[in-house]
Amino acid sequence: MFLKKKYLPLVLLMVFLVSIVGCTQQQAQQTPAPPVNKDVILATTTSTQDSGLLDVLIPEFEKQSGYVIKTVAVGTGAALTMGQKGEADVLLTHAPSQEKPMLESGAITNYQLVMHNDFVIVGPENDPAQIKGIKTAAEAFKKINEKGALFISRGDNSGTHTMEKNLWKAAGITPTVSDKYQEAGQGMGQTLTIAQQKSGYTLTDRATYLAQKKNLSLVILVEGETALLNIYHVAQVNPEKYPKVNAAGAKAFVEFMVAPATQKIISEFKVQEYGQALFYADAGKNEADLGK
Amino acid sequence: MSKAIIEIKDMTLVLGGRTILNIPHFALLEGQSISLMGPNGAGKSSLMLVMAALLEPTSGTVVYFGKQAHEQSLLNLRRRMAMVFQKPMMLDSSVMENVEMGLKFRGLSRRARERQVTPWLERLGINHLVRQRARSLSGGEAQRVAIAQALVLQPEVIFLDEPFSNLDKGTRDEFKQDIGSLLRENSITTVMVTHHIREATDLTDIIYYMEDGEIISRQVTSDYLAVDEFSRQG
């Protein structure tokens, strides 16, 4: 009795620690017909994760193919850099202006159009810069700049940030960080929250905005311009250049993303919930024809 | 003549620039029991630590069991001796664990430890304490446990640093007799530091007086007894 009582705390501690270690070993994945290298690293933008689309697509792909997708959701800039360094196997991103040079340099291959939605400019309901109804984003940006209204930029080199910088360029303005132009340095969801809390304008993809709508009083002020299209491509990191990548898994994922069944899932994603589509499936289309 | 268990030659101990010990020659013979006496700071405890191979002298040689310190393993050397400190430091575990700790260090099995420990616990009257936490003991109890801790090791030499200082008068006398007969029965070579002449005369055969790190005199205790008897009669 004496000994039992004495060692009980030690025994409890050991049982606790051993059970922890024991369980870490078996990270079992139960999937059919395991391929040789199961792990596929998908580098993608936060909007696909934050909108919930990946939560629907990934399990479907894993079920069909037997691969295990490791999704790393970062800004498109970081996702592309991961591709550039061969740290990812497959990319799902939305910054064509940055993706094209990578295709040309041979860093990525099997580059396929997947879907699009669009960017919108959102801002406080009282619209202090009075941009509501302006037809082009460039003009709206000019107006925001003129009126000295607060604009929250992603500032994280993401696809949205790239689009925003392109729009500023089109407006002939080079924004510098000030109390009227602030960089969040975070994902779209966080940036929207900051814009909401500070009553500022921001550029957002429609999917993330709709997904966050329940927490926001920000409203869509400018939309519909062709230049605001948000186009997602999927691409394999080139195995010829980076021999370590899981080429077979990446290829399977690209094929999955453009397959008719997947495209159907994308076009129907959350339509019921929001009364409008978050993404438009575009596989096989020509990028130049979008929005027409 | 019996052989020297510990022999010190031209030994000094300097700590922080101060000479703590300066012993030209000193020998502890097998079966001897001696006391070290003298004022505080005379170097009694330091000398004992050197003899117990727990403190390295600054210069000179110390010969243990016929061999110099550096010719043998200090660990094995320490395992032939035992020490009872002035204020027994118990580890925060049971009395039993404290008493058998030295045997455990020597690699004895649980059963062997028990066999060796039990008679001493009974002899020292602390059998009833074994399950108590060592830190919760009274001064007298702790002193007995500390003695047990040393004696179970069956040392060839035992060092006692003011072993009775924590005890009140009544327990002290009783305890002193216990220890005295224990040491004599087992004829263990003994070195004791004490401030009380009665303890020295009752328990040991020779008294060394120390002052400022030096041994200044040596007295055989039977002489004292004679003086004592004499003065009492006078």
Binding site: P9, G86, T193, K244 | L91
Partner: protein
């Protein structure tokens, strides 16, 4: 106010319904941070003990390094561990990045200096006369070390608590080396960040409540162990 209340209600609901996803994330958090803590104990306790008892050149430097390491920013650790584990990095061939093992490594790096420093302090606090006593009883080097570690066990449990508390609550390193991958490296902190990004504040609050509960539960368990004997 409404949001907070909704969050608490949601947390209660998620817990009561034993939502499999939440349970998975919670269990993974416990496993990953628990293992990292165990690893840091295996590294930090011997190291702290050696630093407390040893006298060797460079000791003071190592002690100051351990003390400094207690405040290692998790994101810095995350970045450096990532650099080493990336496919292009020196350990890329092992395919560790974006696995629970990667988080365990990063968290062990964070917790080890904490455990080391706590161990060092706990052992140094032991009365030096105990060391002399152990020496006199014939303890060899290992026996001395083990006896002192046992003697310092209250302080060591504090070290474990501090280490676990440090890693279970960090997000920067887990996010960077783990990637917040669902079902594999999504732990409570990274899931909380993600739910905030998704705008699901109620779920985020629920997760935060669960994280607090978990951290408290483990600490309470360890405290019970720590105080076990003192209360008898």
């Amino acid at each position: 106010m409404e949001l907070i209340w909704e969050g608490l209600v949601k947390a209660f609901y998620l817990l009561m319904a034993l939502d499999p996803e939440v349970l998975e994330v919670t269990w993974l958090t416990l496993k990953v941070s628990g293992t990292a803590t165990l690893v840091s104990v295996l590294i930090g306790v011997p190291l702290g003990a050696v630093l407390a008892l040893g006298r060797f050149p460079g000791r003071n430097f190592l002690v100051s390094l351990a003390n400094f390491g207690m405040g290692l920013p998790p994101v810095v650790v995350g970045l450096w561990v990532s650099i080493f584990l990336w496919r292009s990095g020196p350990f890329g061939a092992f395919n560790i990045i974006y696995t629970p093992l990667a988080i365990i490594i990063a968290q062990a790096v964070i917790a080890s200096p904490i455990v080391t420093s706590f161990t060092l302090a706990a052992i140094q606090q032991i009365n030096p006369r105990i060391r002399l006593q152990l020496l006199a009883l014939g303890a060899n080097r290992m026996q001395m070390l083990w006896s002192l570690v046992k003697e310092a066990r209250l302080g060591l449990l504090a070290a474990v608590m501090a280490g676990f508390g440090g890693v279970v609550s960090e997000v920067g390193a887990s996010m960077m080396v783990g990637g917040n991958i669902k079902g594999m490296t999504r732990v409570l902190t990274t899931a909380t960040v993600m739910e905030v990004n998704k705008g699901n504040f109620d779920v985020a609050i629920a997760l935060s409540v669960i994280l607090l509960g978990l951290a408290y539960g483990v600490t309470a368990l360890l405290t019970t162990l720590q105080q076990w004997r003192n209360q008898r």
